[in-house]
Each structure stands twice: as C-alpha cells, then as structure tokens.
C-alpha cells in the first residue's frame, strides 16, 4: 500500500506543494511582522506600575510600558546565569520602557516576572513626550509659571494641556524663524561671500562692488538683528511655564514646557481616545522632523528625500529608456548584434547595485562633479559643490541602475504591438516617425508605464548604491526650499531605506529606535507593494488588450 503510494509519485507532489506553501507562509509572515510591529508603535500602551522585589534590595517601584515579554526555558536561563528553582520550567521576563533617561540613565529595563510583587495601571500615570531625554513616566504634581505654582491636583491636567498648546505654537514660531528666516539669511550671506570671492578671482573686485557688497551685508545683518530680537521675546515666553512631576522613586522633577511635545494619560483613554491618539501619532510620524538622533519624531525629511530622488530619476530614466528601447526594437537591424545588446542590457539589471554605486561615486561624483566644480564654481573651492555626493548624483546613479528595467519593459510592449498596425499606418503614407509617434508609442505607453513603475519601486527600495552617492543620516536642509534656485541638486538628502539601516544598526539607542524602524519599514513596504501591484495590474490589462487585438 505504502510502497504503491510512493511509486505513484504523489508524496513528491505533496512535498513540492509544501515548498509553495512555505514560500507563501514566509511572505505573509514577513509582511505581517512588519505590519504588526509597525502599527503597534502608534497605539498608546498602558503605563503599568510594578512593585519589584530584587534579591537583597528593598522593594522598589517601577513605572513604564511593558514592551516585550520573553519566556526562557529553564535550561537556557541557567546557562545565562539566572538562578532557577527546581520547580520552575520557564523564566518569564518583561522588557519595560521606563523612560526617564535623565534620571535613571537607561530607557529600558528587563525585569523578571517572578519578582514582581504587584502590578497595576493607575489612572494618574502620565506620559510626557519630550524633545530630549526620551519619554517621561510618572505622576503630575503641579503646573508652574515662572516658578510659582498655578495649578495642582485635578486642575493641573487641563491647565497643563492649555499651556502646552501655547508653548507648542511658540515653539513652532521659533523653529520657523530659526530654520526658514535665519536659514535664508545665512544662505544669502554665503552666496554673498562666494560672489565676492568670484569677483576677486576674476579681478573685478572694485570699489563699486565693495560698496554693493557692504550694503547687502548690512541689509542681511539688520534682518538678522530684528529676528534675534523677535527670537529673544519668544524664548522668554516659552521658558515661562514648567511642570512638576513625580518619578517612580518618588523624586520630584521639574520639566520646562519648552521641552515638552505632548502629555497624555494612556490609562484613562477609551478605545476612541486611543484611536484619536493613534491617528495623531501616524500624522506626526509622516509629517514631523526626526528628534533625538532619529530615534523619535517623524521621518518627513526621509520621505521627502526619497520622493525627490525618485522624481528626478524618473525624469532622467524615462526618455532615455524609451529611446533606447525604440532604437533596439524599431530602428536597429535585428541580428546578432542587437541580440547581443539585448542580452547585455538584460544582464545589467542583474549587476549588483553596489557596483553602480561605485561607478556613480567614481565617475559622477569625482570626475563629472569635480570638473563641474573646477569649471563653474572656482569660488567655492576648496569646499566641493558638485564634487561631493548629492541628490543629482544619486538620481543619476539610480537612473542608470533602473535603465535596463525601463528598456526591457518598453521593448516588450513594443514587441507585443501587432505588425499589422505599423504596416497599416505606413501604407496610409505616414512616415516611420509619424507611425511611431501616433500609433505605436501610444499603444506601448502602458508598457512604458509598467517599466517606470517597476523602476520607481526598485529605486525607492535600493539603499546600497545610495550610501556611496549622496544619502546621509541627517540632512540639515531639504533639497527643495524657498531660497533661490529652490531645487538644490548638490545637497545631500535622507532616504527611507537608508533611514532603516542607519537607525536600526548605527544608532546609539537601538532598543528605543526599534519601533520607529518597524514603522519606517512598514511605510516603505506599503509604497513598494502599491507600486508593484499597480505595475502588475497594468501589465495584466495590457495583455488582455493585445490578446483582443491579435485575435
């Protein structure tokens, strides 16, 4: 019976089926992992108070969010040096985010469940999201204005929220002035300095230029002074209020509202409250600047940088890819050479991306960029302008990297168009270019679109070459801003994929950064899935359409 069954080959078919199932499970597991951990980051966790009894130490109180639970079998726990009683099978440990890094020196702490005497989620627990030192967990005692208490007890919380709102709007004004206004002044001053140096280099620096220069500089200085005065007033306003809170150890600490982003009481929130909070957090994540060495806050500059790079890359890659495909399919004589070129182009898609990065760094940055600097920006030397990794070079490198994708896809589209259509057009007296422009290319446009989408998806997820040609962990300015010439192709930029690598692996506080990395990964995965699904759908539609045409 069994032997017969084996002979029929059926078990092997099942085994092959198992391979497919395994692949499917793996894909779904990876996506689910990223989804759950990425979304979980935004959901407000309960703040728990533990009474914790360590051996040989007095009973202590711990306040924080339970982030993770690990269950270690007894033998493993023993081998890592835990004392285990004979009747204990497992060692249960909680990872608690205790925050208060300024007080305790660490954000996270592993505690053993068996040493927890008591745990509860008191309503009074507050979480303070701060601009530095990470979160604070504790209890609110009072709100102060210029050191004098203005509210305590039940009034404290509403009063605090009002004042935080006020402080936040002041903070926004300060950032606006410091980044935008003063940033523009600094940018103007730098341009002025370069202009002066350029005139000196060209021996055109005369008394008139000097006068003009002095006037411009005085103008900028005056602007700067007025902003400084404004800033001083704002700083005085934002430093007025502070709050007093009690930590787990009972110590009272005073936190100026200038350093507070948000205060909330997760334990009192109901489901809808949590939903609101969740929405707010997601929005903050998408639109805010990063804080605390990228481990908190938002990832807006990374999203912006990725999008900018992808757009510039698309502008470069589409025309060139399409022209190359049209040449290969419509103009070149089909023969051994075109076949060879086709194979070569196809294989360039398989060349490791890091090789493109090396090429981009050597050729674009050092050779092209270096020469551009020597020709057009002698005044900036020794500081490089284009002779250093930047947005333009990153886009160009990725354009080169994705060129094969666009060529292959467009060619495929061109090949699918029935010959009869071309011949019909030519027979009606249209020239070749007219045939192409009016009939063939419009019909092939979905294929080009597919190619472009695939190229964009690949570019958005590619990191290795970017590390060499222009991505940085923290860019002080966006590549697009209000200062002439608005689009700064020479600037370095931030990128979602690199952000994941950098925050996840190069950050000093990996544990604290982890939720943010998962969230970033989720965003990137979503973008890529949407792009790829679009490409797949377009491709399938296209196939249907031509099947109809051919039939």
């Amino acid at each position: 019976m069994m032997k017969l069954w084996f002979k029929s080959g059926s078990p092997w078919i099942w085994l092959n089926a198992a391979a497919v199932s395994t692949c499917l499970i793996m894909v779904i597991a990876v996506l689910a992992l990223v989804l759950v951990r990425g979304v979980g980051n935004f959901w407000p966790a309960q703040v728990t108070q533990f009474s914790y009894q360590e051996e040989g130490k007095p009973l202590s109180v711990l306040i924080g969010e339970k982030v993770d639970t690990s269950i270690t079998p007894a033998i493993m726990a023993k081998s890592t040096g835990h004392k285990m009683a004979d009747n204990e099978d497992t060692l249960v440990q909680y990872l608690v985010k205790t925050g208060n890094r300024d007080v305790t020196g660490a954000d996270f702490r592993w505690i053993e469940a068996r040493k927890v005497q008591e745990q509860s989620d008191p309503d009074a627990m507050i979480v303070i999201v701060r601009r530095e030192w990470g979160n604070f967990y504790g209890q609110l005692l009072a709100v102060q204005e210029n050191g004098k208490t203005v509210a305590t007890g039940d009034q404290a919380m509403p009063e605090l929220q009002n004042r935080i709102a006020a402080a936040s709007s002041v903070f926004k004004k300060i950032t606006q002035i410091e980044k935008k206004e003063i940033g523009a002044i600094n940018y103007g001053l730098e341009r002025l300095r370069l202009k002066q140096k350029k005139l000196q280099l060209e021996n055109r620096w005369d008394s008139e230029a000097e006068k003009q220069f002095a006037a411009d500089k005085a103008d900028y200085d005056a602007q700067y002074q007025s902003h400084q005065a404004e800033l001083a007033a704002l700083y005085k306003e934002i430093r007025r209020d502070s709050l007093v809170a009690k930590t787990e150890s009972g110590a009272e600490i005073k936190i100026p509202l200038a350093k507070v982003v948000q205060v909330y009481q997760p334990n009192t929130m109901n489901f809808f409250g949590k939903m609101g909070f969740f929405y707010h957090k997601v929005l903050e994540f998408l639109t805010d600047e990063p804080r605390e060495a990228n481990t908190e806050g938002g990832i807006f500059p990374a999203i912006f940088g990725t999008v900018m790079m992808v757009i510039i890359m698309s502008i470069i890659v589409t025309p060139f890819g399409v022209i190359a495909a049209v040449y290969l399919r419509e103009y070149a004589k089909q023969g051994f050479t075109t076949q060879l070129i086709r194979i070569a182009v196809n294989n360039l898609a398989g060349v490791p991306s890091i090789v493109y990065g090396v090429f981009g760094l050597g050729f674009f940055v050092y050779i092209l960029g270096g020469n551009i600097d020597a020709l057009f920006f002698p005044e900036a030397s020794p500081a490089p302008v284009y002779g250093t990794p930047g947005l333009l070079w990153a886009s160009l490198t990725l354009a080169l990297l994705t060129l094969p994708v666009v060529i292959v896809s467009t060619e495929e589209g061109l090949a699918r168009i029935p010959k009869s259509i071309r011949e019909g057009s030519l027979a009606l007296g249209a020239t070749k270019v007219e045939t192409l422009w009016r009939t063939v290319l419009p019909m092939a446009s979905p294929a080009m679109m597919t190619g472009l989408i695939l190229a964009v998806a690949r570019a958005a997820g590619e990191v290795a070459p970017l590390m060499l040609v222009g991505v940085v962990k923290l860019a002080p300015t966006l590549p697009l801003d209000g200062n002439f010439p608005f689009l700064h192709l020479d600037r370095k930029f931030m990128h979602l994929g690199f952000h994941i690598y950098d925050v996840g692996f190069q950050s000093p506080n990996v544990e604290a950064a982890r939720p943010l990395v998962y969230a970033t990964a989720l965003l990137l995965v979503l973008v890529i899935i949407v792009l790829n699904l679009t490409a797949i759908i377009i491709r399938n539609r296209l196939r249907e359409k031509y099947r109809a045409l051919e039939g």
Binding site: I25, I323, Y366, E462, V463
Partner: protein, 759 residues
C-alpha cells in the same frame, strides 16, 4: 497636432507647392528622428558599457609597473666640507641636505645642486666626529653625532614651508632638541665609535658603543606640576654584550627594542622597555657562514629589520611571538637585488617599501608585503656612496664616488598590490605565520595594509552558498508544483505574491534578519533545526493520511489545491517543532543546543551568522529562481506532456522524465541568475552579519562579502589611493562575475526558447 490635416484632404493644384514643402519637412523630420533615436539609443548602450570600462580604468593603474626617470646630475655641493654621511630630501623634493663627517650640514636644491644654506654643528673645540646615525623614525629628521671625547650631539633638521606672494618657499633649519651642549655619554672620554638615538617629546634614548662597552643612556623629561620646571632624569646602564664585532645599532621608535648588528651576521636583540635593566632576548645568525651584513635598517614602522648582505640579498626579519608568547626575530622573506654586496638600503618613510642599491649602482625598489620588485634601474655607473629616498617615495638622490649626485624621479604609486598580496597567503609583520587577511586601514603610516581579497571572496561564496542551500530546494520545488500541478486559479495569485516577495526592498529583509531573526534564532536554535527536519516528515504523514481518506470525500475536493491545504499543516508542524524543542534539549542534551555545540564541538556562536544570512538572502533569491524556473517549466510544449501521459506515465513520471529534462537548461539558468543575485547582494549581508572578514567554514560564524566590504569602506577611502583602487577591483570582480553568469544563463535561455519553438 494641427499639421495632420493636409494629409486628410486630397492635394489640389493650388496647394501643391506648399504641400511639397510640407512633404519635404515630413521627410526631414523622419530622418531627424531616425538620427536622434539611433544616437540616443546607442549612447544609452554606450553609457551602460561605460560602467565596465570606467571600473577597468580605475583598476588598471594598480598593475602598472613603476618607472624611474633620470633627472639632473651635478657635482657634489661644497665637496670640500667633508665626506657625506647622510643624504636627505624633504617632502616636496625641492631641498636636499648633505651631512658630512666634519659636522657640516649643506642644504642644497635637489634638482640643481645649488647650495641654499650651510650650517655647522656645534662641536666642542678639539674633538671630532667619530660616528653618525639617523634617529628613529627617520621621518622625524633627528640625527646623532658621536664625538671623539665620549660626548654626543643630537640635531634635528626640519623644513618650514611658507607662502610669501603665493609661492612656496621652503626654509631649512637645524634644531637641538636636547640643547646645544653635547651630552656626555662616556665620562672617561673614550670615542663613541657607533651610536643610535631615538628622540621623543618626553624621553630620549641613546645607545653608544665605545672601544670596550655598549652604553644605554635614557633621558626622561619631567615637568614639575606646580612650577612648570623641567628636569632631566638620566639613566645610564652598560649592556652585557661582547662589543668587538658590533657594526650597527638600531633602537625602535617605541624605545622598547634594541638590535645590535655585527657584520659577521650576528644579531643581538635586547628588550629595553625597562631602561635600567636591559634584557637580552635573542641571539640570531642572519646570514650564511662566510657572508657579511653590509647594510641594516628598520622598515617603516620599526617592527621589521631589513638586512642587506654581501651576496646581494636583502632579507626582512620581523618580531614574531612564538608558542610561549615570547618575542623572537624571524626571517619572513628575502629579495635578491644582484650578485654584488648591498651598499645601501633606504626604507620608504610612509610605506612598507624600500630601495636597495648594490655596490655597482644597481638599484631595486621593493615592497615587502606584496613581495614585489617594483623597479630595477642602474642609477649610477660609479660606486654609490649615499642615497636618499624622498618622504613621498617619488624621488631618489644618489651620491656616487665620481663626486656627482644623481637625481632620479620615481613613479611608484601602488607597490602594495600584487597577485600574491591580493589572492595568496602573505606573511605580515608581527604575525606568527602567513595568512589571508583583509585589514585595509588604520590611523597611522606605520600600519601595514592587508589587502587580501581571499577572505572577502570566501565570505561572498559562503553567504551565497547558504542562501542557495535555502533557496534552491524551495524555489525549484515550488516552481515545479506551481507550473505543473497547481490549479490555474491559485496560480493566478501565487505568481504575483512571489513576484512581490522579490520586490521587497533588501534593506527591509536585512533589517528583519539582523534585528528579529538573529536574536530569535539564537534563542530557538534547536527549534529551527527541528523544524527543518520535521517539516518534510509532517507533510509526508499528512499526505499519506489524505491519501487514505475515503474516496467519497476526496472526490469532492478539486485537484491542485495541495499547497493551500498544506498551509495549516506546515504552521502546525512548525509550532510543534518549537514546542518540543526545549523539552527535547533538556532530555537529550541537558543544555541548550547552542551550548552543546560550544562545549562538545568547540563551535562558537555568533548572533549574526551565516545561517541568518542564508535564510534572509535565501528569501531574497527565491523569487528570482522561482519565476524563471517556473516560466521554463510552464512553457514546455503541452504535446510532450500529453503524449507522455497518454502512454501511461503518471503525472510524476511525466514531470521527472519529460518536463524536467526538457526544462533543465532553463532551470539551470534560473539557478545561475539566482546565484548572481546572491553574490552581489549588499544590504542583507551588511545587516545580518557582523562583517568580520574571517575565513571560517562554520555556519555559526559571521563573514564579510565583497559587496558589503565596498559599502562599508568606500565612503572613507581616499580617492585614487591603493585602497580606493582595490575596492574598485572588488567591484570589477563582482561585475564580471555576475555579468558572466547572467550572460551564460541568458544564452542558455535563448537556446531553450528556440528549441521549444521548434518542438
């Protein structure tokens, strides 16, 4: 496009001229477009090809031989002021210095010999210079004069660069780091026959040999914390050694080791880290009996000695720790310069190279790490007296017995690289045996760069191997099933899902591998192993049970859904494997599998190891292999399979005997392309391994691949340096490797397509 409308109407006579103009314009447009497209298309293709040639262009200088070009030769400047004991050139190759045996220093223009400045060393009246030596390291410019009255003078020569009127001006000068008064070494006043010195900021060590002893003098500057007063503390000790034959003495720059060289080939090696108690560590014979040591000096970094002998051989001796961790001098390689005795050895001040000149004026330039003779040139016809290699190793001055100085320009940019130093075992300084090591940079010039690509290639192949081990079975079996057995409805969803898997950014896979999979695997090693073993068993058991289900139920379930049915089975088996792993470990091993490997087999465990890389990169490679192999299997012509089935073969027989055989070239090419992808993958290995370039076969150890190495080191490497070019070489190797594999695979696929269409 309003210009279309004349076409739509038949041309009338009136319109004819305008029309012909328009027709001509259309033709011009057509040919312009043709020209544009051809130019554009070709330039895109050229741009893609450019990648290869650009990489080659950067790499080629690595393998270009060095050249020497004869410059001026001129009469010895101020020949009357005595015989040369040392020649030296400063960094810019503009000013050279000649130290004479009468205590004069003549600075002159290196290119023309025109004297710039002549200085006299302050020597007490009635004494004369008996011995002379360069301090260590030579780049600091200290020299010592041993006098006939038992005293010594230490001088530093330095060059100050200023830019008056935007022109470079180099001003040489002399400085006395220990004060102008001579230092008394032998209070009895016997002449210092040989001396050696190391001048430091805080302390100075001098060794001098008189007729009857070798004396070590250590001077330590001590600054009083409160008064800023500087006092000098002197320690004097005589070495316990036979002095008669000593001809050269060398102190390393750490002031730890002292080497006494005798011309009969004997070397005594003293440990002088304790200045009051020098200990002799070793006595070695460095040349074969009857031969003589004719030149000896340190290699840059002072951890190797270069010994030139009367047979024209220069050998490199380095400090190696033996089994008992005792330091010992050992010969690690030798260079044959000629048959004549070595006259001078000049080490390069910044690299591990040196120039050796024999008694006939034949010069060889060598690099120790790469064991390369970079250059050989007859620099003078007369007997060479002294030679100087410039700090950047791009110029050489040779004084010959014909009272002339010969100026040579050297072009020797990348001596560190040879086929041997890149691919074979190299015996590096201070290592107990030859080894493959990649260690490209350190903070100072003394470091010996180790550019062995072997560990990187090894790491690349190791990572690719484990990835393929995971990917090939899953991808190929999956492809077989979904192309041939799966119901079309399910296939419609499975294919895009797998394509999506391939589109996932590798940075995300790498991040999950490094931050989630690696710690999970570390904790559940036994569970994972058990899962690998139990999964096929579980599937088989389930399949057998399914087979034995009543036919009544089986009939109702359509065929080709096995993969969907198996999902819960696999999940359940996986869960079961993890659940029983710990009790099993406790029962069988009494410790965790990880500890068991370590204790029983001595296999250490790295958290980010090859297994993690294999699983993560396998995940990334599966879609590539899957979709190509699936295409190949799916497009096997139907009449073949139908024919086989009609002849009575089972589906499985048809699969293995007909379909797989026909599709095998396609499957092969799928594997090739997958391998190409695994070899070049960067982010996953960067994040999922510790990036340690070790050569270790163990699954539980990390690795570093070529691609990850480029990503890690490229941003910091200096443009056009050897390191930069070696990284480009790594990129070129990757490029060629993947390109060749992909092209092979592509050609096989093309052939297959033709074959199918003819079938």
């Amino acid at each position: 496009m309003s210009d279309t409308h004349p076409l739509n109407k038949p041309p009338s006579v009136m319109e004819k001229s305008a029309n012909s103009y328009y027709q001509r314009w259309r033709l011009v447009k057509d040919s312009l477009a043709r020209f544009g497209v051809i130019a554009g298309g070709l330039s895109v293709i050229v741009a893609l090809v450019l990648i290869f040639f650009y990489l080659l262009y950067v790499v080629i200088p690595l393998f270009k031989p060095a050249t020497a070009e004869a410059g001026n030769h001129y009469a010895l400047p101020e020949a009357a002021l005595g015989k040369t004991v040392l020649l030296d050139v400063e960094e810019q190759n503009e000013v050279a210095a000649r130290f004479t045996d009468t205590g004069q220093v003549i600075f002159f223009e290196a290119a023309t010999g025109k004297p710039v400045l002549t200085e006299s060393i302050k020597i007490p009246a009635g004494t004369k210079v008996v011995s002379f030596a360069q301090g260590s390291p030579i780049s600091e410019g200290a020299v010592i004069y041993g006098l006939s009255n038992g005293q010594a003078v230490v001088v530093k020569h330095q060059y100050q660069i200023t830019y008056p009127n935007n022109k470079r001006l180099i001003t040489p000068s002399l400085k006395y780091p220990l004060g102008e008064a001579p230092i008394v070494i032998d209070d009895k006043g016997t002449a210092l026959e040989i001396c050696a010195v190391k001048v430091g900021d805080k302390s100075t060590t001098i060794v001098a040999k008189t007729a009857d002893k070798v004396r070590l003098l250590h001077i330590e500057k001590q600054q009083n914390l409160f008064t800023d007063e500087v006092t000098l503390e002197r320690t004097v000790v005589d070495l316990n050694v036979a002095v008669a034959t000593v001809t050269n003495m060398l102190i390393d720059k750490e002031e730890r080791n002292l080497y006494l060289v005798s011309d009969d080939g004997h070397l005594s090696f003293f440990d002088i880290s304790d200045k009051t108690l020098p200990v002799i560590r070793q006595n070695v014979n460095m040349v074969t009996a009857g031969e003589k040591i004719t030149a000896s000096t340190f290699l840059n970094g002072d951890s190797s000695l270069l010994i030139g002998d009367s047979t024209g051989l220069v050998s490199q001796w380095t400090m190696v720790r033996d089994e008992l961790k005792r330091p010992a001098i050992q010969k690690i390689r030798a260079f044959k310069v000629s048959e004549k005795a070595i006259a001078a050895i000049n080490p390069e001040p910044r690299r591990k190279g040196f120039a050796a000149i024999d008694a006939d004026g034949m010069m060889g330039v060598y690099h120790t790490t790469s064991e390369r003779e970079v250059l050989r040139e007859q620099v003078t016809k007369a007997l060479p007296i002294a030679a100087a290699l410039s700090p950047r190793a791009n110029a050489l001055l040779v004084e010959a017995s014909d009272k002339n100085i010969y100026f040579w320009k050297l072009d020797n940019k990348h001596p560190e690289v040879s086929v041997k130093s890149l691919w074979q075992e190299v015996w590096y300084e201070g290592y107990p045996k030859p080894d493959y090591i990649w260690q490209s940079s350190a903070s100072n010039n003394d470091f010996e760069p180790k550019y062995s690509l072997t560990p990187l290639v090894f790491g690349t192949l190791k990572a690719a191997f484990y990835a393929m081990l995971v990917a090939i079975p899953l991808a190929l079996m999956g492809a077989i099933y979904s192309a041939y057995f799966m119901t079309p409805i399910m296939r419609q969803y499975v294919k895009p899902t797998v394509e999506l898997m391939g589109a996932l950014p590798t940075v995300i896979l790498g991040f999950l591998a490094g931050l989630w999979l690696a710690p999970t695997l570390e904790e559940n090693l036994a569970g994972f192993f058990l899962m690998f073993m139990l999964l096929p068993v579980g599937v088989m058991v389930f399949a057998y049970a399914w087979h034995n289900l009543p036919a009544r139920i089986l009939e109702k379930i359509p065929e080709g859904w096995e993969a969907a049915i198996l999902i819960p089975v696999i999940l359940l088996t996986g869960w079961f494997a993890f659940a029983i792993s710990v009790p099993l470990e406790t029962a069988l091993l009494g410790e965790t599998l990880r500890d068991w490997f370590k204790n029983e087999w001595g296999i250490g465990y790295d958290q980010r190891n090859s297994l993690v890389v294999g699983m993560a990169m396998g995940f990334a490679v599966i879609p590539t292999i899957f979709s190509i192999a699936e295409d190949a299997i799916f497009s096997v012509p139907k009449h073949l399979t139908v024919g086989s089935l009609a002849l009575g073969a089972t589906t499985w027989q048809t699969m293995t005997r007909v379909v797989l055989l026909t599709a095998s070239p396609g499957i092969f090419s799928a594997v090739m392309i997958g391998l190409g992808r695994a070899v070049g993958e960067t982010m996953i290995v960067l994040m999922a391994t510790g990036n340690t370039p070790v050569m270790d076969l163990s699954v539980f150890q990390g690795l570093r691949t070529l691609a990850a190495n480029i990503a890690v080191e490229m941003p910091e490497s200096q443009v056009d340096s050897t390191h930069y070019r070696v990284l480009f070489l790594a990129a070129l190797v990757l490029f060629l490797f993947t390109f060749v594999f992909n092209t092979l695979a592509e050609i096989i696929r093309q052939r297959l397509r033709e074959k199918y269409s003819s079938l």
